[in-house]
């Protein structure tokens, strides 16, 4: 399709569609990373690369990320089993519930855990690890569950007839079959926990710092930009290494007979009770923190109250005096809208490039590169590249949506590309054979799918923007914070009112995010299914 080497009858202009995402990514991803690197090289950043304090933080973050990964696997693997392999009433709901923690903004999760556990549990390592595991349950349950759902039970039956107990069959046959999925999900969870910012800031202590929080501290407290750039480079290298190791471990996983496996009925007896208890536990684990948050937003002075909700429009709310929570909500919604437009255009065109070969394919790969770059690194890079002369974009209000679009583009590609792939390209030839010009034929072949899937991906990008904290903490202007930034500012102040208003604001963010994600699920999945049916 791109570069003239795609399907026949594709319009000529489509061959150059890759140019727009290429230009965007070169300007707002590659250039800022180069600026970051140059800061390290030109300033005294070299010393930052070898600074003992930075490597000490990296070590602390690695231990914390490892513990978070292990906990997420221990809880997430049984969840993967019950939500993806058994047939029972409410299974679809349970599967959707498991996804909820992942789509919640991290600052909301942090606040929700504070609400759930109260002040009795001290901030620090354990709380951070539990919150990270909660956020990443969906990663494990979805990746491992997808693999497990296709797993042929007869392998275990063979092992059992050879004398293996149920547990031995699980350990010696089932687990090795899931090794690739477990390794891939573990790598992703490790990276998310290693580069965490919002949760670490709100729930951590001095032993739970990450390189991400170090970058924020170096830029906002120490004003050490070369040092921050060096930290960002170290993080980039470490994260890339972990992701590559995860991908390689996944590839080494042995192939085995896969067959479409129907969902199993919940077994009778003790096994059935275990499955039902696991489903109930899954739902409780997911709901409890969010429910606690909602309750906290409705309790003031030990009684039921809507005081915090009423204070949302007040500039004095929480005494931040930096604009009302509703003002922050308006700002976030505006950023989300612009992000949705930018990300869906850039990601949509990059997804079209995924279908083609040659140079356009490179653009598609580049489009998913931001996944490996942490949000704070993106924010810092964008700030260094475009926050001062010669190219100063601070006054345009575009820095936040541009950084958010970079975070969202890989997800847009992940939504749009499969739908385009599932669409039968022969439709193009059919339309052309009936006399349609190339552009008309393209619209006929792909238009209906693109319309729906672009709406879904725009909603996804909007959801990402609403909850994003890392980049916004660098780029949002002091007087115009986004909702997550406002929540963190409110929580940094003492007093019940700050906390209550932050909880109310977080509940609004939860509702908006879930609404957008449901939109994605409904439209994105239906587009995929429609494409597959007609292909």
């Amino acid at each position: 399709m791109g570069g003239g080497d795609g399907p026949l009858n594709a319009p000529r202009w489509l061959g150059w569609a890759w140019a727009i995402p290429a230009a965007f990514l070169a300007a707002f991803l590659v250039y800022p990373v180069i600026v970051l690197g140059a800061r390290v090289g030109l300033g005294d950043g070299w010393s930052g690369l070898t600074a003992a304090s930075t490597w000490q933080v990296a070590g602390l973050a690695a231990v914390q990320a490892l513990a978070s990964t292990i906990l997420a696997l221990v809880v997430g693997i049984p969840m993967a089993n019950v939500v993806s392999r058994y047939r029972y009433r409410g299974r679809a709901l349970a599967q959707a519930m498991v996804t909820v923690p992942f789509v919640l903004p991290t600052v909301v999760v942090a606040l929700a855990f504070r609400s759930l556990l109260g002040s009795g549990v001290p901030q620090g390592f354990a709380l951070v690890v539990v919150a990270h595991a909660y956020v990443n349950l969906a990663v494990v349950a979805r990746i491992v569950g997808a693999q497990w759902a296709q797993h042929d039970d007869r392998y275990e039956n063979v092992a059992r007839t050879l004398g293996a107990t149920r547990w031995q069959a699980f350990v010696t046959v089932t687990l090795p079959g899931l090794r690739g999925a477990i390794a891939s999900s573990a790598a992703v969870v490790f990276v998310f926990s290693f580069t965490s910012l919002g949760i670490v800031l709100l729930l951590g202590d001095s032993t739970t710092r990450t390189l991400e929080s170090q970058i924020l501290r170096q830029t906002s407290v120490l004003l050490d930009f070369p040092g921050a750039a060096a930290t960002a480079v170290i993080q980039l290298v470490l994260v890339t290494g972990v992701l590559l190791a995860g991908a390689m471990a996944g590839r080494r996983s042995p192939r085995r007979t896969m067959r479409p496996v129907a969902l199993r009925p919940v077994p009778a007896g003790l096994s059935g009770i275990v499955v039902r208890v696991a489903v109930a536990t899954t739902v409780i684990i997911v709901i409890a923190p969010v429910a606690a948050l909602l309750l906290d937003s409705l309790r003031a002075g030990g009684a039921w109250s809507t005081a915090w909700w009423s204070a949302m429009g007040s500039v004095d709310a929480g005494t931040t005096r930096i604009g009302s929570p509703l003002g922050a909500l308006g700002m976030s919604l505006g950023y989300a809208l612009v992000t949705a437009v930018i990300a869906s255009i850039v990601g949509g065109l990059a997804a079209v490039a995924v279908l083609s070969r040659g140079r356009a394919r490179v653009v598609a790969l580049l489009a998913i590169a931001p996944l490996g770059v942490s949000a704070a690194t993106l924010g810092l890079g964008t700030l260094l590249a475009f926050g001062r002369g010669p190219i100063d974009l601070r006054g345009t209000g575009l820095l936040v949506p541009i950084a958010h679009a970079l975070v969202a583009v890989p997800l847009v590609v992940a939504v749009v590309a499969p739908a385009l792939r599932a669409t039968d390209s022969r439709r193009l030839a059919v339309a052309a054979s009936l006399g349609a010009r190339p552009t008309r034929a393209f619209v006929t072949a792909y238009g209906s799918v693109l319309r729906v899937v672009m709406l879904a991906s725009a909603a996804l990008a909007g959801a990402v923007s609403l909850g994003e904290f890392g980049a916004a903490s660098f780029l949002a202007r002091a007087g115009n914070p986004t909702v997550p930034v406002q929540i963190v500012r409110l929580l940094s102040r003492p007093g019940e009112e700050s906390y209550g208003v932050a909880a109310a604001l977080a509940v609004v963010l939860v509702a908006l995010t879930l609404a957008l994600v449901l939109l994605v699920d409904r439209f994105g999945m239906s587009a995929l299914q429609r494409s597959a049916r007609t292909a």
Binding site: R154, N157, V158, R160, T161, L162, G163, T165, V173, G177
Partner: protein, 226 residues
């Protein structure tokens, strides 16, 4: 003489659905019995029930005279081979064959030695450390046979193990498997829809007629009305 395996008024099915009822037969030591019948007659369900993969709806399964109906799969001493070899892909040929022996607590060295003997007997000498995804269909099915025979099961159940192979290979394997079972002295039930294959391998053939258009399979007597 006590039968090696016996089914006593067995009712088989899934959940509340009865596929066949009133199944009774015996397999004597070293005897190979073939069960021949059309698809859907419940042959595979019968084997899965005998092995303990799915529970019997009622009736008894006896191994050497002992009732094993409620005994878990891994303690029944009944081996099974499926239509596909289902070799464990993360283990090489020897480790696949030694798998059951290791579960019995045999040392690695002893298990490997027995595996090597069986592999040699089945013409697979030299393949001991080969990855299973490098085997041909026939080789893989031979490894599956060696793996099933290695722990010396009381009875081996073969669920159409040759149906995915081409005709030539199938003919050769029928002879090889038959010889292997007799060499090991293992009693077996061989389920197939091919009468010639059954006759070539078995001492005795049980033919299952076409199931009636409605109602349970003709594998046993008709199920009593609910």
């Amino acid at each position: 003489m006590t039968p090696r395996l016996a089914a006593d008024d067995l009712v088989i099915g899934h959940g509340s659905t009865v596929i066949a009822a009133g199944i009774s037969f015996e397999v004597m030591p070293r005897e190979i019995v073939a069960v021949v019948g059309p698809s859907g007659s419940g042959k595979s369900t019968l084997l899965a029930t005998l092995a303990g993969v799915i529970p019997a709806l009622s009736g008894r399964v006896l191994v050497d005279g002992a009732d094993v109906t409620q005994v878990p799969i891994h303690h029944r001493g009944i081996g099974m081979i499926f239509q596909e070899p289902l070799l464990f892909p993360h283990l090489d040929v020897t480790d696949n064959v030694a798998y059951g022996l290791r579960r019995q607590g045999m040392s690695r060295a002893e298990a490997n030695e027995r595996a090597a003997t069986l592999l040699q007997w089945l013409g697979l000498a030299g393949y001991e450390r080969t990855s299973v995804d490098q085997l041909s269909g026939g080789q893989a099915q031979r490894v599956a046979l060696a793996r099933a025979l290695a722990p010396r099961p009381a009875v081996l159940l073969l669920d159409e193990p040759f149906s995915a192979l081409d005709a030539d290979l199938r003919r050769r394997l029928v002879i090889e498997v038959s010889e292997a079972l007799r060499h090991e002295g293992t009693a077996a039930i061989h389920v197939t829809h091919d009468l010639a294959e059954a006759a070539a391998m078995a001492d005795r053939v049980i033919t299952v007629p076409e199931a009636p258009e409605s109602g349970p399979s003709a594998l046993g007597r008709p199920a009593p009305p609910a």
